[in-house]
Assembly symmetry: C2
Homo-oligomer: 203 residues x 2
Amino acid sequence: MHDEPGRPVGPADGVRGRRPRTTRARLAEVALRLFARDGFEATTVDDIADAAGIARRTFFRYYATKADVVWGEFDAELERLRERFRRAPEGLPIVDVVRTAVVATNRFGAGELDQLRTRIELTATVPALVAHSAVQYQAWCDVVAEFAARRLGADPGELGPQTVARACLGAALAAFTVWAARPDEDLDRCLDEAFRILAAGCA
Amino acid sequence: MHDEPGRPVGPADGVRGRRPRTTRARLAEVALRLFARDGFEATTVDDIADAAGIARRTFFRYYATKADVVWGEFDAELERLRERFRRAPEGLPIVDVVRTAVVATNRFGAGELDQLRTRIELTATVPALVAHSAVQYQAWCDVVAEFAARRLGADPGELGPQTVARACLGAALAAFTVWAARPDEDLDRCLDEAFRILAAGCA
DNA sequence: CATATTAGTGCACTCGATGCCAGAATGGGA
DNA sequence: TCCCATTCTGGCATCGAGTGCACTAATATG
């Protein structure tokens, strides 16, 4: 995907200190392979570090927790989402804007889609990851609530924006998990359908 | 509330072995007081055990994890919810049934309401509890999805029931957290309003 | 070559959680 | 009364995640 912190290895390019021995992306790759093979719980941080050729302690310089590996660069995705909300046309209903934004931030090539499936299946299946994901979802909700609040002329903490944001999260999660579980489904179609149900008042 | 496993202490009543030294409810009381005073993270299981006059190891016989204390008897509440769905009138829209059931399963006396507020504030605020709660919410969603599936004539794992269930969860959570944060709000009113927004398609 | 900068790593430690097993308390029956 | 089955307690050892600290290694610049 993209190689993150600094120059991976190679000729100098004007940055001072020692070059990192690996990247977040590579660590994630290694770890996800182990998770898929042995399970999340059965894989220790030592295993990941060994497989990646770094020390256990170093792993925690790249990711704060074992679970964070599964979430990759979610912060960046949140920022993209925020940007899309900023540029959203005024006329469009909130739910439609969110649906469009979610669809847009999840356009991947075929290879990446497979990795996404693995990630989603893990986060929806492994209890420890279900748990950890909630914190990420909260951040996602905050972004949506901020947008909904602007539209509703309310404070992001009020009931209106909060309800809209969390309901949108629910629809998106339903779409993602159903899609991840069935190889033949289309992600966009799932998202469209879920948000259609939401816009119809769950009737 | 209710004193759980076996006779608390006192005269025999026909049960064989040694009598438990405490109860789940008492442990929860002790723990919640410590959480409220020192914070969830800063309170160790040793602290709770000491305060309750039992050994650390014994604590884990009453609750599987430190976080479980905050959730008390959620299993039982899920069962009550399931029962209500079973008895729900056929004509009522899904969302209304869920709203009514949630309101009904959360009728408490004034004293208990305070404890509920503490619990909700903790679960919505402390990251470790936000995380742990997700597992409980998943169970909640399963119950709602099961009901929605019956109504929609679908499988509980399909997109329709999943979307409805998760959206309902979102509405309920929004109501609970907004309520917990504001002393003057009324829980029933919050729930009604949140589900009204949901039924209106978040518009 | 000296120095600042940045990354890697070993060590010790805390804390949650678990398995195992011995011991304490209790009721029932020979 | 004495032993036994039952049930709960709790000590001990162990694992694994996560953290703070101090030291080492690599690299660019002057």
